[in-house]
């Protein structure tokens, strides 16, 4: 065997060993309660690019996408049923036009890649849903997102909700508008809105409230993300930037969730 083949063999063995270790860690983690729904605020892509002197405008976001694939794989292996990713906020449209275009083009590229993977059966039964004000996206991106949702509609594995052009304030206003129009159309019922009427019309009505919210990048705010749905969620911040988020950060967050589970459950019962 020559050196290249030896290195290749060693690499394969090492990867196999790391996969076994990871599966063992997850088996141990699963002895305790696992969050039903984890939301990720994926902050830090631009700082990652700056930190590593990456010149391209989308370099940090490309690194961020790699992190997305790892995190989804880990969540699937752990057995988390729902994951939400805060990919692009309503307020992010106020960034420089070149940067916004770059991010939109990157999203299109990755969605098209994911569609190919879904069609060829390499998506591990993932179901992908896009939520937010999708009318703010360009036609091609909107069509690609719609296509990915159609192609993965029958999948019954991990549900991945991607928030694009999303903000809580927009979601609440949108839900109020939709519920008002619905009430007007329904002549039989009383013309009074309830909390359930509004919650039914929210973008996030398709998933339960998150049990755990993980924000990368070291910031302590929710940045207009799911403030309505997170009253009983554990909010966890890590200083690691999103492309740096690894296995141990996720394990640490889940361990923290498991320590607080009794309190969170008691709070849920009280409310």
């Amino acid at each position: 065997m020559n050196t290249r083949e030896e290195v290749g063999e060693f690499s394969k063995l090492f990867n196999g060993f790391m996969t076994l270790m990871r599966r063992f860690i997850f088996k141990v983690l699963c002895v305790g309660p696992i969050p039903n729904h984890i939301s990720f605020i994926m902050d830090g892509n631009r700082r990652f690019a700056k930190k590593h002197n990456l010149q391209d405008l989308d370099a940090g976001h490309r690194a961020g996408f790699v992190s997305v694939t790892h995190v989804l794989q880990y969540c699937q292996e752990i057995g988390v049923p729902y994951v939400t990713l805060y990919a692009f906020g309503h307020d992010n449209f106020r960034r420089e036009p070149e940067e916004v275009k770059c991010v939109m083009d990157l999203m299109l590229e990755k969605i098209e890649l994911t569609i190919d993977q879904a069609i060829s059966g390499n998506l591990n039964n993932l179901k992908v849903i896009f939520i937010g004000d999708l009318n703010m996206l360009n036609e091609r991106l909107k069509a690609a997102a719609q296509r990915l949702m159609e192609v993965t509609e029958e999948n019954r594995g991990l549900m991945v909700v991607v928030c694009v052009a999303y903000s809580t304030s927009h979601e609440i206003v949108h839900a109020i508008r939709e519920s008002c129009v619905k009430k007007c159309g329904d002549g039989d019922s009383p013309q009074v809105l309830e909390v359930s009427d509004i919650e039914e019309c929210m973008y996030t009505s398709i998933v339960p409230d998150p049990a755990l919210v993980i924000r990368t990048g070291g910031r302590d705010r929710l940045s207009n993300f799911m403030t309505w749905q997170t009253s009983k969620s554990l909010l966890h911040t890590t200083v690691a930037l999103w492309p740096e988020l690894g296995l141990w950060h996720l394990v640490w967050a889940i361990l923290k969730f498991q320590r607080m589970q009794n309190y969170l459950q008691k709070k849920q019962e009280l409310d």
């Binding site: 992010n92 008002c180 809105l193 705010r221 207009n224 554990l234």
Partner: protein, 253 residues
């Protein structure tokens, strides 16, 4: 047939031993995590004590003008001990905070509003003075509970529904667009709710969670977990406020 039964029993037995082993490892990991939290808590206490004594230079002056509105979320159990809440407010008055929103999900602090206003020197109720009219030597207090969260938004939504119904054209059945953020802000004010967004939210309780603080007001608020109200420390409070004054908000841009 006979060979399968002992094999099944053996594999079940091995499975049970495996599960027991995993359980032991899980418990061991949680013991280590708990020990880490205890040690980290001790370091935080020592640091907090040093800050209170003025031994750490950088916390000796805080640019309090940056903190226009502070909110404090208190766990239900902690909210029953009003004396600790009063002590916290007295500390905040000393630091120079001008406006504080106090939240607990069940409204226990709302019920103790009169006692708190009496016991905290120079305190006034925010609703009476309005945000723009707080004297420099006063601290304005606001009492918030879960009824100011989703229920308040629903009340405001019903005002918008009424407006929408009144504006429906008989020809096309379409009403005026009364569904914007500014319309909702206005409707919330009509139902008596504040729409002011706190700059900083301090959570006193076992868990870092906003526990149902009004969602409409929480958009860009920095949320800091302070631990238990029973064991609150002045130094930790100073540190949290100082850290906030160094934060740079980009509001998504």
């Amino acid at each position: 047939m006979d060979f399968n039964d002992p094999m099944l029993a053996l594999s079940s037995w091995i499975g049970q031993i495996g599960d027991f082993g995993l359980d032991l490892v899980w418990r061991f990991i949680h013991i280590v995590v708990t020990l880490w939290h205890i040690v980290s808590g001790i370091f935080e206490s020592v640091e907090s004590y040093a800050i209170s004594l003025g031994l750490i230079q950088k916390y000796s002056s805080i640019d309090i003008e940056k903190l226009k509105c502070l909110a404090v979320v208190v766990d239900i159990e902690a909210a029953r001990d009003v004396s600790k809440v009063i002590e916290l407010l007295q500390w905040l008055t000393t630091i120079g905070v001008k406006q504080v929103g106090l939240f607990d999900s069940q409204g226990l602090l709302k019920k103790s509003k009169d006692m708190i206003l009496e016991m905290v020197p120079r305190s006034v109720l925010l609703q009476e003075t309005g945000e723009k009219h707080i004297s420099p030597d006063r601290i304005a207090l606001e009492f918030i509970s879960s009824s100011d969260n989703k229920e308040a938004v629903v009340k405001a939504a019903n005002i918008l529904l009424e407006k929408y119904l009144k504006s429906i054209h008989p020809e096309n059945g379409v009403g005026e667009n009364v569904f914007t953020e500014s319309h909702l802000n206005e409707a919330l004010r009509v139902v008596g709710e504040s729409v002011h967004v706190p700059d900083l939210l301090l959570v006193y309780g076992p868990v870092r969670s906003h526990l149902g603080f009004p969602a409409w007001r929480l958009r860009y608020t920095e949320i800091v977990h302070m631990g238990s109200l029973k064991y609150m420390r002045y130094g930790s409070l100073l540190k949290a406020i100082h850290k906030f004054t160094g934060v740079r908000q980009n509001y998504g841009v």
